[in-house]
Amino acid sequence: MKILVAIKRVVDYNVRVQVKPDGSGVATDGVKMSINPFDEIAIEEALRIKEQGQADEVVVVTIGSNDSQQQLRTAMAMGADRAILVEADQAVQPLQAAQVLLKVIEAEQPGLVITGKQAIDDDNNQTPQMLATLWNRPQATFASKIEFVGDNQINVTREVDAGLETIQVALPAVVSTDLRLNEPRFVKLPDIMKAKRKPLDVQAMADLLPNATGEAIEVLQHEAPQPRQKGIMVETVDELIDILKDKGLVS
């Protein structure tokens, strides 16, 4: 079985993002870029499934600018076998990303697709669900555990508001990762060297998907969030309790 992992290059999660003064976007010049953290978890899970003998190839794909090659190389240094860059001139929205990923699926015929649950730049949380829909296959979102049960079935434990839900889905399927699924491995230097020789195929989005459908959502403006008013520091528990009582928050 082949596993396809979709990854996105995003501003590193440690960066405190700033809105540009003219409201046209957020400042990304010179900012550290990384693999979306949920996608790193997706890569790790695919590698573990392969290491357990349930899969024989892990292919990573991204839709983005040419710079995304860096993140694909990192994924291959982690252990992915090969990579596909679908080069796009502009950022793509989830419905278009899902259409591109479907084209890649049609060419690659994976038995399992693993994605992150959300890209931490746009925080959309849509692409895997849309992909599963267009592909007409099951989805298991927010996964914290994947277990193979019998032929072509997996049980996926999902982190939901009420606790943990387990569903069974037939393969092929799309699984999106949550934080507790695993802890991604660190990349070792020799692996970075080895990854340079692994195949990285670049295709133009316009060739792969000449007619994307669905209107893009227009972004009119970016603004910084309203700051909270400056608070006060107290020295003792008594002072704290007095304030809470004054505000009617405790009795």
Partner: protein, 310 residues
């Protein structure tokens, strides 16, 4: 004029408050009609929504074998009904996040995730980058499929409505997906997402056993309990207690946290709280930048003292 179709959420026994929050948001569109679609094994739940003022019609789709929670089973029915509406909205809860993008894909549109403010029927504000930036977005799609950030709206509490209830049976159950089980940490404490008061703990609490004092304080003041990702990852508490960018976004009147440093991913989950109180032994912890009231000290001394004095 707008016509809104809302996806209702329930837990099998009751309609979730998130539904009334989406309803409150939908009313701000001043629409011509608001209808609600409910997928359930228990049709009697429909009455709980039909009583809200401003709801015209409730489509109650009955499902067996827990298909009512499965996105792949219910999305096609919702999308099909949604074709007759300008807006198809659900809550930004794990349930709504699972289902609504499927509906959007079936309708061929991108989704507006996490609406926090409505400018007009086509224009909305939503957070990106863990709430570090707010964007104003516009869409003229024939159906605007969206999730509503529940922390941004107070639940609609109206009554006296008399929406018509139309029952049907689910005809789009997926064969490739089945529900196996749901494990919930049963507790008598208030629900984290709707509680007026929340007490939470982070890595500083140190262990599952130590969390006991956090629970005791919560019980003393009738609060729900929450946690940081670090506390969940370390196994001190279950995942459903995680507050933040990728956990629950909450807006209680009081949020009091112990041993949480205040990472941006955590703060985005609490910035709509009325009063934030932070207790941390490190006076430089970033949590103090957003706290309304801060106290530097050891939580293992402060919690017992609070227990005594409250």
């Amino acid at each position: 004029m707008s016509k809104v179709l809302i996806l209702a959420e329930h837990n099998g026994d009751a309609i979730n408050q998130s539904t009334a929050k989406v309803l409150a948001a939908a009313k701000q569109l001043n629409p011509e009609a608001i209808d609600v679609m409910l997928f359930t094994g228990d049709a009697s739940l429909a009455g709980q929504i039909a009583g809200h003022e401003g709801v015209n019609q409730v489509f109650c789709v009955t499902c067996g074998d827990n298909h009512d929670q499965l996105a792949a089973s219910i999305a096609p029915t919702l999308a099909d009904k949604g074709k007759g509406y300008t807006h198809v909205w659900g809550p930004s809860t794990t349930f709504g996040k699972d289902v609504m993008p499927r509906v959007a894909a079936l309708l061929g549109v991108n989704q507006v995730s996490d609406i926090m403010e409505i400018i007009d029927a086509n224009t909305f504000k939503r957070p990106i980058y863990a709430g570090n930036a707010i964007i104003t977005v516009k869409t003229t799609a024939p159906q605007i499929v969206a999730t509503v950030r529940t922390a941004s709206y107070s639940a609609d509490k109206t009554s006296g409505g008399s929406a018509q209830i139309e029952e049907s049976a689910l005809s789009t159950a997926a064969e490739h997906t089945s529900f196996v089980r749901l494990s919930t940490g049963d507790s008598d404490r208030p629900d984290l997402q709707t509680a007026d008061k929340v007490i939470s703990g982070g890595r500083g609490v140190g262990s599952e056993e130590n969390f006991e004092i956090v629970y005791q304080l919560a019980d003393k003041i009738g609060a729900a309990t929450g946690a940081s990702r670090a506390a969940v990852d370390a196994g001190y508490v279950p995942n459903d207690m995680q507050v933040g960018q990728t956990g629950k976004i909450i807006a209680p009147d009081l949020y009091m946290c112990f041993g949480i440093s205040g990472a941006i991913q955590h703060l985005t989950g609490i910035k709509d709280a009325g009063t934030i109180v932070a207790i941390n032994k490190d006076g430089d912890a970033p949590i103090f930048e957003v706290a309304d009231v801060g106290l530097v000290g050891d939580l293992f001394k402060i919690i017992p003292e609070m227990m005594e004095k409250l």
